[in-house]
């Protein structure tokens, strides 16, 4: 049963991400990405991390992607304004390098010996445990990440500000 759901969510995620790349319309791309986030969220649930799963939907699908779609809609691109990628020699070479890298990684991946992981305890992944990990065990790294994000935010505002 678990395996079935894993393959279901995994194929949904991978399939929608592929669809996102090949899509012409930016809004359709964004919606495929939203769908892929749902697949990811399902995978998190299978990994007994319900909190991360809900956060995935709440933050990525519910907030960040809404902003993405909002901006895309605000630009309101017309069909003829979209630039389509054409195949040329450079792109073909890059494609083959990418495929080679993929084959190499697959080969490495298949060599990894199978390891049995210990089962996690029942409280793993609940809000309480995540909170304890973040705010007790790793408080200083957590705060540092917070400051880093704040710096990024201020930087973005500064860069995006209109020249007076």
């Amino acid at each position: 049963m678990e395996e079935f759901f894993f393959y279901l969510f995994a194929s949904v995620t991978v399939g929608l991400v592929l669809l996102m790349i090949v899509q012409d319309s930016p809004v359709a791309s964004a919606m495929c990405l939203v769908g892929a986030f749902f697949g990811l969220s399902g995978l998190y649930v299978l990994l007994s991390a319900p909190f991360v799963a809900v956060m995935q939907i709440l933050v990525y699908a519910g907030a960040i992607m809404v902003l993405f779609v909002f901006v895309i809609m605000l630009l309101n691109l017309k069909e003829h304004e979209l630039v389509y990628d054409r195949m040329n020699l450079k792109r073909v070479v890059v494609l083959f390098i990418g495929l080679g890298l993929f084959a190499f990684l697959t080969k490495l991946f298949l060599r990894i010996p199978k390891v049995e992981f210990a089962a996690v305890e029942a409280s793993f992944g609940t809000v309480k445990e995540v909170g304890r990990t973040m705010f007790v065990n790793y408080l200083i790294p957590f705060e540092l990440i917070g400051i880093l994000l704040l710096v990024g935010l201020v930087g973005a505002v500064l860069l995006g500000r209109r020249e007076e």
Binding site: V27, L58, A61, V66, F70, V127
Partner: protein, 424 residues
């Protein structure tokens, strides 16, 4: 697989309750607006003379929407145009599964039967996530319609929802902090049976912020700018007709019911009956059933008698004359049956389990009554307040509600810290 069966029942029954509340809500909206604007409201539609005070209009609407021609304009983006109402309705319908309708029943095997479809560990986050997804339906409807008014409506809606989600989330955070849990049933339990300890009084600013944000999230007046008909015709659903329009319409009312249920759960004690905790309620369930049967019987009898005395032949000159009899006589009969039956039967004697089930039924009843009252508040506000201007909406969201909710979180945290230090 009885577990699966129970799960299906738990999902389907509340969904049916909410779907069946829809015509009632539409009736309430129409009659409420009529009452506020001092006019009679809908009273024409009839089935063999029976009008039920305008309720039949809802039925007529359903038939009209079902049989209207389903038009798909040529200039729309078909996939998203068709998906948008489905997304909107789906998101509106899945939110309620974490809302508890009554206290959990203890089972013989030591477990509990919960009156919510899923007692998620992160229940309140789930509702927030689902409400934040609701914006996709509206945005896609606006964009795929390929129409200036619809696009503006969709943009307005998404900007508004993003702005108000923040204050809403922080208001919820205050509740979570005070209750010490993200599970909605625990939040209800933490509020206790005494109305003075309910969150609406303990956390008044958070409660006000949440209610205002809920109005904005459901796109209800005074925040209904996405469909402001004076500027945008009908906003994001201007290109929709027939059942696809009806789905947006249904989603709006379901959102309203779910938002009311959430407000009641978070701030007005959920299923808690004022001054009666679950244990007392379970002990006295038999008396309560006895007296409420008597009360309901006499109420039904009284209403029936009033209706029957209004009978006057030839007032309308057609079958509508007999409406008061068609409604009044059964009401009298039901009332008499209940009264006589209860009095002959005397006191009820229930076993423990029957008492628990009756107690749960009373809690469900009170929860629904509170929810309906909050729905009435939604209608009341809609027909009383004028619509905001767009800059006023943004000012209210960012400059007033966000600081208020932040200060509330800070103050609540400070009070909790001081109280925990006093205990030591």
């Amino acid at each position: 697989m009885p577990v699966v069966l129970v799960a299906i029942i738990k999902v389907v029954v509340p969904l049916l309750v909410i779907l069946n509340l829809l015509p009632l809500m539409i009736w309430l909206e129409r009659k409420g607006s009529a009452f506020i604007q001092d006019r009679p409201g809908p009273n024409r539609a009839q089935i063999l003379g029976v009008r039920l005070g305008g309720l039949v209009h809802s039925l007529a609407d359903v038939l009209k929407l079902l049989f209207k021609e389903d038009i798909i304009p040529n200039h729309v983006n078909k996939i998203f145009y068709l998906a948008a109402p489905v997304i909107t309705l789906f998101v509106a319908c899945v939110t309620f599964i974490v809302i508890p309708f009554a206290d959990a029943l203890p089972l013989k095997n030591g477990g509990f039967f919960t009156f919510q479809a899923a007692d998620l560990n992160a229940g309140i986050l789930y509702t927030l996530a689902m409400t934040s997804l609701g914006v996709y339906g509206i945005m896609l409807a606006g964009w795929s319609s390929n129409n200036k008014f619809a696009l503006l409506g969709g943009l307005r809606s998404s900007a508004q929802m993003i702005s108000y989600e923040l204050s809403m989330g922080i208001a919820v955070l205050t509740v979570v902090m005070v209750s010490g849990s993200l599970s909605l049933n625990d939040i209800v339990l933490a509020q206790g049976a005494n109305p003075l300890t309910w969150n609406c009084l303990r956390l008044l600013p958070a409660c006000l912020v949440f209610i205002v944000a809920a109005f904005a999230e459901t796109n209800r007046s005074p925040f209904d700018l996405p469909e402001g008909e004076s500027e945008l015709v009908a906003g994001y659903h201007v290109e929709y007709s027939s059942m696809k329009f009806a789905m947006f319409f249904m989603a709006e009312y379901i959102n309203m019911i779910v938002a009311s249920a959430l407000i009641v759960t978070l701030f007005f004690g959920g299923w808690q009956i004022p001054f009666v905790d679950t244990a007392t309620l379970r002990d006295n369930a038999d008396k309560l059933v006895y007296y409420s049967a008597l009360g309901f019987g006499s109420f039904s009898l009284l209403v029936g008698l009033i209706l029957v005395t209004k009978f006057k032949k030839g007032y309308y000159g057609d079958s509508r004359d007999y409406e008061v009899l068609v409604l009044g006589v059964p009401a009298i009969l039901v009332g008499l049956l209940l009264l006589v039956g209860t009095l002959i039967n005397g006191h009820f004697y229930f076993g423990t389990e029957a008492k628990q089930i009756w107690a749960a039924l009373f809690q469900i009843g009170l929860f629904l009554a509170k929810t309906l009252f909050m729905c009435w508040v939604f209608i009341w506000v809609r027909w009383t307040l004028p619509r905001f201007r767009y800059d006023q909406l943004m000012t209210l969201g960012w400059k007033y509600m966000l600081p208020t909710s932040l200060v509330t979180v800070f103050a609540a945290a400070l009070v909790m810290l001081l109280m925990s230090q006093q205990d030591q």
